[in-house]
Amino acid sequence: MDDLYRDYILEHYRRPHNFGPLEDASVTREGANPLCGDRITLQLGVVDGVVQTVGFTGRGCAISQASASLLTDEIKGKPLADVQSFGADDLLELLGIQISPARLKCAMLSHDTLRGALSQLAESGPEAGRDQAGAGI
């Protein structure tokens, strides 16, 4: 727990990499953590099966912002197949901090959104979409 707010995490939070909207994204995906109301929008620019550009916007805690910053760094320039196989475990390793169960959703917000973006790409081509909410009234 004491390791959660390491310098590089705070650094990524203060100055996140790849922050800002993309000009012409192949896919735009919004994710939300309803527990805290935080949202992130992730955009990928895919050319010839390679993630050429990536950007995110939104607000959130240090963990979610640092995680998005690290994740976008990681996938930029990678072939889609590699991005596909980038798992939750890989992201946790990249973060390099002990995440308690209560903060797992924070760490995973960017990754869940990425997975949504990828299936959106696969299914319906490059269209804007939203995270689906549970059934309700």
């Binding site: 309803p34 527990l35 308690s100 169960p101 209560a102 903060r103 909410a133 549970g134 059934a135 309700g136 009234i137």
Partner: protein, 432 residues
């Protein structure tokens, strides 16, 4: 500390565990884990023979409650500080062990409820109101506890549905040939008890479920008297809904479970609404949380669930097959001892101990069951008298009331002997 307050510290049935000898429970040793069994009533040692109403609790359960309130009491799910995270993992860990105890495929299929009654009402209000319509048939039995009867009466009255009942034989078995006929009505639901709380009848759940499914019906089984007393495997039984009460299985009051197949739970509308069961809320509309939380509105009974987790650890340590063998043996002993030594007594329920749980209903010819219970209390023997929440069954048996002795893991032949002695005393008093 009891030996099992830390699950897994001693292998169940290992030579190190004095509670098990030659593969059998040693109730005399087990009793030491239950503080109340060392107390007295009216100056005589307590002989508790009302475990079907509620069981006593081992130290491991009492200490689980105590440990929570002294050490890490906090609300669950939403706190990101130490004690709240500990409370959450204890609460969810208990759920997982409770689910595993009945071999649920996934722990998110296990909804924590106050008791079996709430579980059945949840299904009736949520699944029932969404799926039962006018003229639909629900098949119940004459054996049912009011908990598995009245909610369906309310639903049927609201929806114009029809209730049909599987009758029983005089011994207390369900008349399977009538059940087969009733299935031709294409019921939407068949709901019945796994073990009768009044007669002890153990119903053939797997067979009846297969038949119901073949006829297109879903099956709800009331396991309130089964989960505490015999191995229950919801997958092997094949049922759709299964309910039980924690307080009857060594756990605290306020604990219990509804298990249902995930697809059913996912399709069901919520029952109670409020905090924790939602995903998003605006002033005018809401969306629901994932399973299991969709059905757990508000602050749950955290301590009760943690306590039930400790109870299933304790039972697992004993081994449910051994628990069943112990109680079956005791029922056989009791039926024989009572019939032999208490002249004129009427005993009800299946004569075959292999087909009945640990409950022994009876009536004396000379005394009303309430007087019997009251006089037994004088000698420290606790039995129940009345209709045991099965009025229609008593009506069917043409009995206004019965007295009932019932067993659990800590029950002994000495308990039965004390009951027999007490009954002979009652006869003396009433005959004199």
């Amino acid at each position: 500390m009891t030996m099992t307050s830390e699950p897994g510290t001693d292998a169940p049935g290992s030579a190190a565990d004095p509670r098990i000898r030659d593969g059998r429970l040693v109730a005399e040793v087990i009793r030491a884990d239950f503080p109340i069994l060392g107390t007295t009533a009216h100056g005589v040692p307590l002989v508790y023979l009302d475990s079907a109403a509620t069981s006593q609790k081992p130290l491991a359960v009492i200490e689980a409650l105590d440990g929570y309130y002294r050490g890490y009491n906090a609300n669950v799910h939403r706190g990101i500080y130490d004690i709240s995270e500990r409370a959450t993992s204890a609460y969810e860990g208990a759920r997982a062990r409770i689910a595993a105890f009945i071999n649920a495929p996934e722990s998110r299929e296990l909804i924590n409820v106050r008791n079996a009654t709430e579980a059945i009402n949840l299904v009736a209000w949520s699944w029932g109101r969404a799926n039962i319509g006018e003229g639909d048939v629900i098949v119940l039995t004459e054996l049912e506890h009011h908990a598995n009867l009245v909610p369906w009466q309310l639903l049927a009255a609201e929806k114009g549905a029809r209730l049909e009942f599987i009758p029983i034989t005089d011994e207390g078995y369900l008349r399977q040939e009538v059940y087969a006929e009733l299935l031709k009505l294409k019921p939407k639901l068949v709901a019945f008890t796994h073990v009768s709380n009044t007669l002890g009848t153990i119903n053939p759940v797997a067979e009846m479920t297969a038949q119901a499914h073949a006829a297109g019906a879903l099956v709800l089984v009331d396991g309130a008297q089964a989960v505490p007393h015999l191995p229950v495997d919801v997958q092997a039984l094949g049922v759709d809904f299964y309910v039980f009460s924690g307080h009857k299985m060594l756990g605290p009051t306020g604990s219990g479970g509804l298990w249902a197949r995930r697809e059913l739970l996912e399709a069901m509308p919520p029952f109670m609404a409020g905090g924790d069961m939602i995903r998003t809320v605006t002033l005018r509309a809401s969306t629901w949380n994932e399973l299991p939380w969709k059905f757990e509105a508000g602050t749950p009974d955290i301590s009760a669930t943690i306590g039930l987790g400790a109870a299933v650890d304790y039972l697992t340590g004993l081994g449910m097959a051994r628990v069943r063998a112990h109680e079956q043996e005791l029922v056989a002993y009791a039926l024989e001892a009572i019939a032999e030594k208490v002249p004129g007594i009427s005993l009800y329920g299946p004569r075959d101990a292999a087909r009945r749980g640990g409950v022994v209903p009876f009536n004396l010819p000379e005394a009303h069951p309430h007087d019997v219970a009251q006089l037994l209390d004088r000698v420290g023997v606790c039995v129940r008298a009345g209709h045991h929440c099965t009025m229609p069954l008593h009506e069917r048996l043409n009995l206004p009331a019965t007295a009932r002795a019932s067993f659990s893991v800590y029950s002994t032949r000495q308990d039965v002997d004390a009951l027999v002695d007490g009954l002979r005393d009652v006869q003396r008093i009433f005959r004199s």
